[in-house]
Each structure stands twice: as C-alpha cells, then as structure tokens.
Symmetry: C2
Subunit: 153 residues, 2 copies
DNA sequence: CGCCGAAAGGTGCATATACTCCTATTTGCG
DNA sequence: CGCAAATAGGAGTATATGCACCTTTCGGCG
C-alpha cells in the first residue's frame, strides 16, 4: 500500500501518548520536589503564572488557554482560592466568573519563581538547551492535536 | 557567574513541565476519543500492554517500569480487575502480589489495538514520522530525570 | 529461637483531569 | 415583550496520581 511507511512506523513506535504521559509524571516529580518548600505544585504554579499574564479571565477562557477542561480548572482553583491566592468574582455578565490573582497570590508566585527556575535549570543541565528548545517546539505541535484546538481535524 | 547562559535560557523558556503536561492533556484527549468505543482509556491500554509484555509482575515492579507511583498503580488496576481484564494473585512471597492479564484482558487489548493504531497514525500524519521519532527520543531523555530513576541525582 | 530492620502493599487524604447532566443567564427573533 | 436556543458554570461521578502513615511478612543475626 502507498501509505505503508506511515502505517508501519506508527505501529513500530511505542505508544506516543504513553511516553508523553510517563515523561510528564517524571518531570512533574522533579518540579514538585524542587518546589516543595514553596507550597505550590507545578500545576498550581503554571496556573498562577497564566493568570499573572492574563489578568482577569473567565473560567472558560482560562481553561481554553491551558487546554484544560473547564470543570477541571474550576476544581484546580479551589485550593488556591481557599489559600487566598486567587479570587473569583462575578462578571458583568452574571453567568460568568472572573478569576484573578490576589496580592497574596502574586507574592506567593514571586517567591516560588527561584525554585521553579532551579528545576528549569536542572532540565537544561541534563538535556542541554538545544534539546530543550527542540522539545518545547515539538510539544507545541502536539498541543495542536487537541480535539478542541480549532486547528486540528 | 560562569553558568550565566544556562541560567538565562532556562528563564527565557516557558515552563517545560507545564508544556509537557499541556501536551499530555491534548494527546490523551485525542487517544481517548479515538479509543472510546473500545472501553479502554489510553492509560489503561498502556497498562495492559505493559502487562502483556511483562507477563506476571509484582505491583512495585510494574509501577517502576511505568515510572508510576506504586499506590497510583494499585488504584489504576482496580477498574481493570473489576472488569476481569487483570488478575492479582498472592505471590510465593506472601508480601507480594502478582499482576497479570486474564484471557479477557488479552482479548480486550487485541480488540483495542486497531483503534489505538488509528490514533498513532493520526499523530504521525500531523507531525510526520521524523518529528515523532525525535519527540519519542527526547521524552526518553526526560524520563531519565525522574528522581527515583536511578541515573538522575 | 526471637527480635529488628527492610521490603511489599494497603488506606486515607489531597490534587489533577474529564464526562454527563443540570441550572442560571443572556441573546436573538417573531 | 416573551420564549427558545445558546452560553457560562456547577455538581456528581470516575479515573489518574502521589504522599504519609500503617500492617504484614521476610531475612538476618545474636
């Protein structure tokens, strides 16, 4: 068949998704270990960081920008709201809720940055900057495969 | 400092871990959507597949080979045991439990493979085989960063 | 033999993630 | 204006993941 090489390579590969998930577990451990003193996990760090750059965002908008399920995001926000790092207020459109960083959230984030950087440096040190750049580029391509990502399909 | 360039590039990058997790979410969606008719999620598929190749394994051994927390694995096995796809029996060493595929598990896995291949092909089609191979190689490097991975630290 | 430390797992808890169904608004149209 | 469709979120449920602490069992040693 004409597409034989695409077909056969796909089968010859290990499960790309399994690999990606396994690597994500490994890297998450490294970051969470490195950042443990900050009281933020890397998932929470990423969330706060996105909020820092985005300002006040609707739940769905924030979720979409993270390729994260809307309801998953809501739940991820809960411990951050409980700690007073994030505030959620009703928007002008009463259906919506605006999520934003509090002053405490900004401070916590700033305090966590050096620890996060330590993890980033560790990754660069072991992989080398070219590989990291290569990886990040490939991950962007993978993200485009998200079913709700517009470009895909 | 002498490592100034490593430092600066690390800070210039986005969060590698966040990127990896985001990509993992996106790809997991693609696989789970594609495999939805099989009654297996990609995480379960990977688990059954590892078992198929490994034969009968102890909980901890299986967990280690997947870079997965031992207790997380135990819980991931529960729905598979409930469906009769996986069997867990006590080992000769009474502390241990041997995990293995049942006949039904083998059948379910075989039935799921074509759907899984569809997802793999989709990835190859969008990224191209060279990028996929490149990605898989880089992910292996990332996995080596796992704190319990022996080589790291 | 009896005890102690190591090894293998389990349980409780917390977070991460997504689906389905349900409610509250808003918006558009006759 | 008034109602139906669309939009924004929440709640319930299930899986995914990891930590801290506990129990059981095994192995070695005096």
């Amino acid at each position: 068949m004409t597409t034989a090489n695409t077909q056969s390579t796909a089968v010859g590969y290990p499960c790309v998704c399994g690999r990606l998930r396994r690597a994500a577990r490994a890297l998450t451990q490294l970051y969470d270990d490195t950042m443990s003193e900050t009281g933020l996990r890397v998932t929470q760090f990423s969330l706060l960081r996105t909020l820092e750059r985005g300002g006040s965002l609707r739940i769905s908008a924030l979720a979409a920008s993270m390729l994260l399920d809307r309801t998953a995001l809501s739940r991820n926000l809960e411990p951050l709201v409980a700690e007073g790092l994030v505030a959620i207020v009703a928007g002008r459109d009463a259906r919506t809720r605006q999520v934003s960083l509090t002053r405490a959230g900004r401070a916590r984030l700033a305090a966590a940055v050096p620890y996060w950087e330590r993890a980033q440096v560790e990754v660069s040190r072991h992989l080398g900057s070219p590989k990291v750049a290569n990886l990040v580029g490939l991950l962007k391509d993978v993200e485009a495969l998200h079913p709700q990502s517009g470009t895909a399909n």
